[in-house]
Amino acid sequence: MAENEAYVLHVNGSRREVADAWLGESLLYVLRERLGLLGSKAACEQGECGSCSVLLDDELVCSCLVLAASAVGQTVVTIEGIAPHGSPSDVQRAFVECGAVQCGFCTPGLIMAAHALLERTPQPTGSEIREELSGNICRCTGYGRIIEAVQRVAVWRAIGP
């Protein structure tokens, strides 16, 4: 195709070259198909479900709504970048312990949203959790265990695990 270009993205602290990519590609597509970062998921592709959530200059965004080429010059953090692979974060551990993971397709996006919430608001109220995570759809769990997982992390961070 003719509408192609090369550009550079900054993802998870690394400089990543994107060679000869169609400029119509979303950030989600480029992360997944060109950079091999498969943790961000495509579930609705219109910013309704949060499965593709990433941090763009520390702001939580749906990567399906961002053109990849427009993210040049910004920092991107994906689910692969929030904790070393061998040592899951407290949010990731709490999700598993609390039963917040079933099929797991929404999970990376919810971890990103919960991570962003807890960085900003270490002790969120129940109402704050529900409002902040209401942009992430989970079809399996009914959300109860996810709320519990976020609350458990808040306790760990306050008094230690």
Binding site: I79, H85, V96, Y143
Partner: protein, 759 residues
């Protein structure tokens, strides 16, 4: 895998809630879903779909599409080498429409190309010349014969009557109503996706796919490809939820054909819009019921007429209808019945399996009737249900006797005992998120009305009507390490952790290796019908027990002890009558035992023309109580609390059971107040998550759940399936609560704002 001596007791046996083995990878994004799979040199596949509900294909012109750079191949019905049609029960659905399209979204052609955008342009360049045919949308016209057949198999997929007992009995109290349900989407998050790898020379194909039943897929795919089943090898790609929508074939044959045609790996990944068109949905239904009862409120006879819209192809409609007619009495004693049910063919989207499978529809009707009966008899919703509650030993309207544990009254009483919410009407502290309409700030708290409603359900478990429904599992013990092999599909429910728990409990080991889930072992049956805990759990348990027998024989021979005296105690094999004690890892050092077990359930019967026969395998029961706040002016509903008690047999993994209860209730809530696929002339108007509304964290209330643990002697592990019941009676409970709040006779789900606030 570590075999070092460990301190303490084994963690993660039956009854515990150990972390699931796929948990951490799923939180890290490293778990491979079907849509994450790739291969060197792969091509993207995409599907051209009919824009018309009913039309004859006069001509397909592919010439412009072939000229687009990057297009590798284009296929149509002419390129299907084997059986041109597929289907779960009757093979009536074309791989590609050949002469006639029967719904908007029916596949007509597929392309493989170098980029998704190339695929999109190629599909846009295919010219199909259609001749419009009169569409059939009204199920009643399918029944009365006033519309010509839209398929060679006719417009009625199945009619099933149930005629039981006294057909002329008229009760002292008679209540009737007509109930309707819209079409619900399973809306799993992980879109349909597959990767096909062709064998050299076109002799076979390997498919990685998110599905519910690998072996059934394989049989259907092989027939369409004209290959022997063993030439089609399926491996489960990670499944992002299923809920019934992956029971039918969707992209499987297309992906394999494109790969075999090009000799290259091919990936297909549906978009959300395509997913709405590409899988079957919950049947829309219209159900009329009349209950006859004594003045005290005892049900004497039910009459019912059920019409389910199956859409263009049969899928599992006949089995869904069976469930609907046989569950329409609800979990209540009743001896006399006159029931007539139809599943019909129309030019709407095909319908088939979704969590609850026909019982959701029946339950919405019978629970609406129970509340009417309560009012007519001067009873409250709990009293009328307790008065009629079914028990073990009761005879159903089909003549089948309930042999399972049947704690219906216990479900109701335990639910009633759960505390009502302490949140005042309209929420606490003026937080708008607690009000109907939420952050929209539309509600006037002083106008909010609260209501309480009930729903109780009976649900069959496993497959019915003489189907030999079995599952296979293999267990291997070598040098203290257990590995398990099965084809039971993990869709998120947690069978993978349950299988490990079973092996730890039976064999006294810590580590249990799970081999890939694929077709290199016998079938496990489908992950549906709340059946895997019972069937594949039973198979894993059986295989582990056979291995344990072999181990005991080996140790018995070595130590001159009768093997029947041996037992597992913690991590050790012990002589229950002597002093011998050695660790399982030491006992199995240098030897290897491998055993395979097939779990079958008891045979069932087909129904006769009067709907008589022991057609179901087993039953589970559940009760729900809903509390809602309603804004009667804007027609908005806030569900405040759901309380439930569920008959689970044994909670083998309490955290997983709770996950099924809460998740199932969320889907029941969705059907009650927001989820519906909207059609205009057969075209879906809301095929996106922007327009098809799903419950979010703000929509889900706290759930109070009580698990009733009465081990079922019929179940291999005493445990009943728990996946479907939560979805079934939560919907009528919420609707009953809305009726209670506003005093209106709501007869259709989802309840729309206009149903609540317009005169």
């Amino acid at each position: 895998m570590s075999t070092a001596v460990r301190e303490g007791t084994i963690k993660g046996r039956l009854g515990d809630s150990p972390p699931r083995p796929d948990g951490i990878p799923k939180t890290q994004g490293s778990f491979a879903f079907a849509g994450d799979l790739s291969a060197d040199g792969f091509l993207w596949g995409a599907t051209l779909r009919s824009p018309h509900p009913h039309a004859r294909i006069r001509r397909i012109d592919l010439s412009a599409a072939w000229k687009i750079d990057g297009v590798a191949t284009i296929i149509t019905a002419d390129d299907v080498p084997g059986k041109p049609t597929y289907g779960l029960i009757s093979k009536d659905q074309p791989v590609f429409a050949a002469d006639v399209v029967r719904y908007v979204g029916e596949p007509v052609a597929a392309v493989a190309a170098d980029h998704p955008e190339t695929c999109r342009r190629a599909l846009a360049a295919i010219v199909v010349d259609y001749e419009m045919l009169p569409p059939l949308f009204d199920p009643e016209r399918a029944i009365d014969g006033s519309h010509p057949p839209i398929h060679p198999s006719g417009n009625v997929i199945r009619r099933q009557r149930i005629v039981a007992g006294d057909q002329s009995l008229v009760g002292e109290v008679v209540v009737e109503g007509t109930y309707e349900l819209g079409m619900q989407d399973q809306a799993f998050l992980g879109l349909e996706a597959a990767l096909a790898l062709p064998d050299p020379g076109g002799t076979g194909v390997e498919l990685f796919v998110a599905t519910q039943w690998l072996h059934e897929d394989r049989g259907q795919i092989a027939a369409c490809l004209d290959l022997a089943p063993e030439k089609v090898r399926l491996t489960l790609g990670g499944v992002g939820g299923a809920f019934g929508a992956r029971e039918d074939i969707s992209l499987q044959v297309h992906t394999c054909l494109l790969a075999m045609r090009t000799g290259r790996p091919v990936r297909i990944a549906y978009s959300r819009e395509e997913s709405f068109l590409g899988h079957v949905h919950r049947h829309p239904a219209k159900i009329w019921m009349r209950h006859h009862a004594t003045t005290e409120g005892r049900i004497q006879r039910i009459e019912a007429r059920l019409v389910l819209d199956g859409g263009a192809y049969a899928s599992t409609s006949s089995a869904v209808l069976l469930n609907a007619v046989t569950h329409v009495q609800g979990p209540y004693k009743c001896l006399n019945a006159t029931v007539d049910g139809y599943a019909v063919r129309t030019n709407n989207l095909p319908c088939g399996a979704m969590r609850g499978f026909g019982v959701v529809q029946a339950c919405f009707a019978h629970e609406g009737q129970m509340d009417k009966l309560a009012v007519a008899c001067g009873l409250d919703p709990v009293e009328i249900r307790l008065l009629n509650a079914m028990e073990t030993g009761d005879t159903l309207i089909t003549g089948q006797v309930i042999e399972n544990v049947a704690p219906v009254a216990e479900c109701i009483r335990r639910t009633a005992a759960l505390a009502l919410p302490d949140v005042p009407v309209g929420g606490r502290g003026g937080d708008p998120l607690d009000l109907p309409g939420g952050a929209g700030l539309t509600a006037d708290a002083s106008h909010i009305r609260r209501g309480i409603g009930w729903g109780v359900a009976i649900k069959n478990l496993m497959y019915s009507e003489a189907f030999d429904d079995y599952s296979t599992a293999r267990c291997r013990l070598a040098d203290g390490v257990v590995s398990l092999k099965f084809a039971a599909v993990e869709v998120g429910q947690g069978f993978v952790v349950l299988a490990q728990q079973i092996a730890r409990s039976v064999l006294g080991v810590d580590d249990v290796v799970l081999e890939p889930i694929d077709t290199s072992i016998g079938s496990a049956g489908s992950t549906s019908a709340s059946r895997q805990t019972w069937m594949s759990g039973g198979a894993v348990d059986g295989a582990c027990r056979l291995v344990r027998e072999r181990l005991f024989e080996h140790i018995g021979a070595l130590h001159d002890v009768d093997p029947v005296r041996l037992a597992i105690d913690g991590r050790d094999v012990i002589d229950t009558l002597g002093t011998l004690r050695l660790s399982v890892s030491a006992a199995s050092a240098g030897v290897e035992f491998t055993e395979t077990f097939e779990q079958h359930h008891r045979p069932t019967e087909e129904l006769d023309e009067n709907g008589q026969g022991s057609c179901h395998t087993a039953f589970a029961f559940v009760a729900h109580r809903a509390v809602v706040d309603v804004d009667p002016e804007l027609g908005l509903v806030k569900v405040v609390q759901i309380a439930t008690a569920q008959d689970v047999g044994v909670a083998l993994n309490p955290l997983s059971v709770l996950g099924q209860i809460e998740g199932g209730i969320a889907q029941g809530l969705g059907l009650a107040v927001m989820e519906e696929i909207i059609f205009t002339d057969g075209r879906v108007r809301n095929a996106s998550f922007t327009d098809y509304l799903l419950p979010t964290m703000l929509d889900m209330p706290p759930v109070l759940a009580s698990m009733i643990e009465q081990p079922d002697p019929m179940a291999p592990l005493g445990a009943k399936g728990v996946g479907e019941p939560p979805t079934i009676s939560s919907t009528p409970a919420i609707v009953a609560a809305i009726r209670d709040a506003i005093g209106r006779d709501l007869t259709r789900v989802p309840v729309r704002p206009s149903d609540i606030c317009l005169p």
